[in-house]
Symmetry: C2
Subunit: 230 residues, 2 copies
Amino acid sequence: MEYKSEGYTMADPEKKAALFDQLARVGKALGNGKRLELLDLLAQSERSVESLTAACGLGLTTVSAHLQTLKAAGLVTTRREGQKIHYSLAGDDVLALYRLARDTAAARIADVERVAADYLGDTPGQISRDELLAGIGAGRYTVLDVRPVEEYDAAHLPGALSIPIDELSARLDEIPADTQIVAYCRGPYCVFAHDAVELLTRSGRSAFRLEDGLPEWHAAGLPITSAGRA
Amino acid sequence: MEYKSEGYTMADPEKKAALFDQLARVGKALGNGKRLELLDLLAQSERSVESLTAACGLGLTTVSAHLQTLKAAGLVTTRREGQKIHYSLAGDDVLALYRLARDTAAARIADVERVAADYLGDTPGQISRDELLAGIGAGRYTVLDVRPVEEYDAAHLPGALSIPIDELSARLDEIPADTQIVAYCRGPYCVFAHDAVELLTRSGRSAFRLEDGLPEWHAAGLPITSAGRA
DNA sequence: TTTGTATTCCATAATTCCTTGGAATACTGT
DNA sequence: ACAGTATTCCAAGGAATTATGGAATACAAA
């Protein structure tokens, strides 16, 4: 019994529990794999419920319910345009929170590495943001964005070429010859750049994967190009 | 149907789900009020299961189960000493994660403010870390640590005086006369400093609350005094 | 106003989480 | 070895979460 009962006036333990239960709502929102997938998508660009549904393998109403949970936790906001409602991250602090939770899991849970390797396959040659920045200055690389066009349109690395991964094999000739290629995608747990590098390498090109995706580039304070809407 | 089906080779959605489920384990661990209370305590100092049980109003086995969850998520580690097992945060990154989740909730969920006010009572006069640092240099303040002695022993602000909140009314005479008092405790959602300031003010002293607690001071990279064990 | 579409609300079943006593385990200290 | 203590494991009931169709809502477009 090291600790006294702290019984000078004794703060109400029910009120304390109510407070921490409220604070836990953010954790709860982060505590579901499908919701993390949704956040990962929203970290790229705002998207409608329908579009998110198509991308994550759940029913429409289920996705809507998850989005309600995220919204109630203050992690996402909505904007109406025409008859669609576009969800987006509520701010850069939310992106930071998502990344920190994800990276903490990766750093401290041994299983993550195993499951990630199982999903992503072999790790291709990678370069860091710093290496890419240096290489861009020297004109050494062609930077390739292999995400869906909508995400490229929302924001992309300056000077990046957009060829979505599912069109890559048919559009190889658009990539300047005799350059090294650096492909990037949504982030460290996105398969697109892995697959792109594999395909490019099989086609005889010299290709690398940027070790992080666009959200991490943005979070690092590096410049991005965004079309800006209308 | 904005997004193509991404069906070039189609990564296995089950493996993707398995990966994000793993990443979600950290969020799950943060998604329970009682576990947040435990983290808040562990942010002060390492503690045994028994000691945590006394402090949080749950059964021993319940606390043990929560600690297992936190440990499985990699957020805490254990150290045996004698017959007790001491739990502590796994690292400063875990503290950063806890703080970011908590502060995000506070910033983005309106209810938090209301429930916090209900628990903490009236907000006393507060000063920031910067103001305190400036004032210490000028010898203007007596810094008062009102947490339990064990937490003070683990780490405290340089030069702070230790008087636990439940002994404060009996030990008022230990506080140097004719100085302003700055009381601090576990953090923004701890009542101790609120109560201390109220008691001191009623006793005719000039007292303020440091707006954050020791963990935030430490996280800001400011110096602390720790006894070091043994 | 009417029609059509995107999204949310509701009810429900399957699953997982929380809490708890009692039993089992892993040590320490003698 | 033996007794004692701190902690974890186990089983079980109750509560909360998740996924899902069908109905209701909130708009926009005509």
